[in-house]
């Protein structure tokens, strides 16, 4: 819409200093300037005003391109072991080779695929579980709430890695298993946050109206409560991806990552760490930097989304 675009400079001024007018101070003539675009538009625009948010998105796009499009252009054998072990970076192997003689750059790409897929999908799954759990708990209240939230308390009392290692010991780690186990331990925060939101939402008029009109409980939760907590859910999901990638890396370090020839960045990094005193730096820094970049990207995006949503709430 052209009107909002014309108003853009003024709007930006307001975003930059939402409290520019001291409380009780003079109200600007002509009333408040409110965006006439939709809420979603406002959020998207505020998001892209955030430099760190843009940086996060850019890093993420680069990492996705590197992992998924990279192997289309850079061909290497990432599976078969050769005698060219631990070669330093040089012609043919821009990032050297690993202790099994495989090309490190190629393995970083396929490792990136697994790390990002596991991180993103387990974050989605855990956030969905958490959101449903929290919404049900908060909506029903009473005994249901007490029981569901005590279960969350119990699981929160066991440090994540303890449960995770138990689960990993049972089965041989695969991409699917890692997604399941990381989801199982990661939904707790989302459950708590969504429950908090639901507690305030369930007393609102529109929720009561749905119930009076004969809307079922399930329908109320799925169609009316959860969509209204979407802000919290999106922010939480973004941070969950960062946490899942870190958890995956930690599992790799403790020897519970994907087994070769499959690869994830965490296992590659911890594999390189065994050769730390041999000076094989190319086995350590690239994988480490990629993990840090991925986690940073998702944290930046999460912060930016949260800020963008807060702007919307302030202007309501």
């Amino acid at each position: 819409m052209s009107i909002t675009e014309d108003l853009n400079p003024e709007l930006e001024g307001e975003f930059a200093a939402p409290f520019a007018n001291p409380p009780g101070g003079p109200i600007p003539d002509g009333g408040d300037v409110t965006g006439s675009g939709s809420a979603a538009r406002l959020i998207v625009r505020t998001f892209f005003d955030n430099k760190l948010g843009i940086l996060g998105i850019s890093i993420l796009v680069l990492l996705l391109l590197f992992s998924f499009a990279g192997p289309l252009f850079y061909h290497s054998d990432t599976i078969v072991a050769t005698y060219n072990i631990n070669l330093p970076p040089g012609p043919g192997h821009p990032f050297g080779t690993d202790p099994s003689g495989r090309d490190v750059l190629g393995r970083l790409m396929i490792g990136g695929q697994d790390s990002l897929i596991i991180g993103i999908i387990s974050a989605l799954v855990s956030t969905i579980i958490g959101a449903l759990w929290g919404a049900i708990s908060g909506f029903f209240g009473g005994v249901v709430d007490t029981v569901l939230m005590r279960i969350v308390d119990i699981l929160l009392a066991i440090p994540t890695i303890f449960i995770l290692l138990y689960l990993e010991t049972i089965y041989h780690p695969t991409v699917l298993l890692l997604i399941i186990t990381i989801s199982v331990v990661s939904w707790l925060t989302a459950a708590r946050l969504v429950r908090g939101e639901t507690l305030s939402l369930r007393t609102r008029e529109y929720v009561r109206a749905v119930r009076i009109m004969g809307g079922g409980r399930l329908r109320t939760i799925l169609r009316h409560i959860i969509p209204n907590t979407i802000g919290v859910i999106v922010v939480q999901a973004t941070f969950s991806v960062a946490n899942a990638i870190l958890l995956l890396a930690t599992l790799g370090f403790l020897g519970f990552g994907l087994a070769p020839p499959a690869a994830d960045w965490g296992s590659m990094l911890s594999g390189g760490v065994s050769y730390i005193y041999d000076g094989y730096w190319w086995l350590i820094y690239p994988a480490g930097v990629l993990i840090v970049l991925a986690v940073l990207a998702f944290n930046f995006i999460g912060d930016a989304v949260r800020d963008a949503l807060e702007v919307r709430l302030q202007r309501r």
Binding site: R150, I158, F253, G266
Partner: protein, 314 residues
């Protein structure tokens, strides 16, 4: 306040019991440890004897009941399958060392993070604030073991300042006798915690700075130093107490990884050894102790919160 404390204590007991149930369920899914414990060359009779001796042929609820009876009736966590000692003695030997590592690191990270967070809040969005924010962001994004490895590489391998391995010994005294070896493990853990706490402290301090009591303190002519360190510091410390309680599981997880990385003789290393050698009683005992520590930490944090903040009434 007393009523609240009692209610929280009962709640905590329920949570600990729940932890036990969940760990038992998980454990019943684990592969039968008998063969792995008695060895590949043991006769079937020996394997069978092991199974019977350890209730492994009994249903889940019987095992659970026996375990509970063992804890309450005999005040014992059972015996390790692998080591010729009780789980209780392993924990009482190694837990104090873990407590030393995690406690000192936690203390250092708070003592550093609080003033730095306040400093950042005061110089908000200036270059110095952005540098510190950048550093803590990167530290926050690093897997604990990677950070530890980098410290080993730079401070032990390239410049021979500190040893790369943690001190060895069975008592806290023996560990403390080799302070140089403690530097890198404690630094790793402290940096990991610092990353989280300083970010939190910064936003908490920014919020405090906007409060009326700060304006009042300034209005009555107090020096900036008095405003910051008398009025704001105390008020910003309250959320930190809760934060420590809430982050305790994460801190303990980081502690476990640090122990494994530096070969520190604490319960974190014991746990990994127990799990990989299918020594389930030891793994279960350590999980239970860690869960109790977490619940206790949260309980203390909640009570301290109520005691510190006169506005909090239950």
């Amino acid at each position: 306040m007393v009523g609240y404390t009692i209610r929280r204590i009962i709640q905590s007991i329920v949570v600990v019991l729940g932890v036990l149930v969940i760990m038992f369920i998980l454990q019943s899914l684990l592969p039968d440890p008998a063969r792995a414990i008695v060895g590949v060359h043991a006769s079937p009779a020996v394997v069978h004897a092991f199974i019977v001796q350890n209730d492994l042929n009994k249903p889940f609820y019987v095992q659970f009941w026996h375990y509970l009876y063992q804890i309450i009736g005999q005040r014992s966590l059972g015996n390790s399958y692998k080591l010729n000692e009780s789980v209780g003695s392993i924990i009482s030997r190694d837990a104090p060392k873990s407590l030393l590592l995690v406690g000192v690191a936690l203390l250092i990270s708070i003592v550093v993070a609080v003033p730095i967070g306040i400093f950042q809040a005061v110089r908000r969005n200036k270059a110095s604030d952005q540098v510190v924010t950048g550093v803590s962001f990167i530290l926050y994004a690093m897997p604990t073991f990677f950070l530890g490895e980098l410290l080993i590489l730079f401070l032990s391998e390239y410049i021979h300042l500190f040893p790369a391995e943690a001190p060895q010994g069975s008592t806290v005294g023996q560990i403390l006798a080799q302070p140089l070896g403690l530097v890198l493990p404690i630094a790793t853990l402290a940096l990991v915690n610092f990353a989280g706490y300083s970010r939190f402290m910064r936003s908490s301090a920014i919020e405090s700075l906007a409060q009326d009591f700060i304006r009042t303190a300034r209005a009555k002519g107090l020096s900036e130093r008095a405003v910051l360190f008398k009025h704001m510091l105390r008020n910003s410390l309250i959320p930190i107490v809760t934060l420590i309680g809430l982050t305790l599981p994460a801190v303990l997880t980081a502690g476990l990884i640090t122990e494994v990385l530096f070969n520190f003789p604490g319960i974190g290393s014991d746990y990994i050894t127990a799990l990989t050698s299918q020594d389930y009683p030891t793994a279960l005992g350590i999980t239970l102790i860690v869960a109790i520590a977490t619940v206790l930490g949260n309980l203390l944090a909640d009570i301290a919160y109520a005691a510190l903040d006169p506005r909090v009434r239950y």
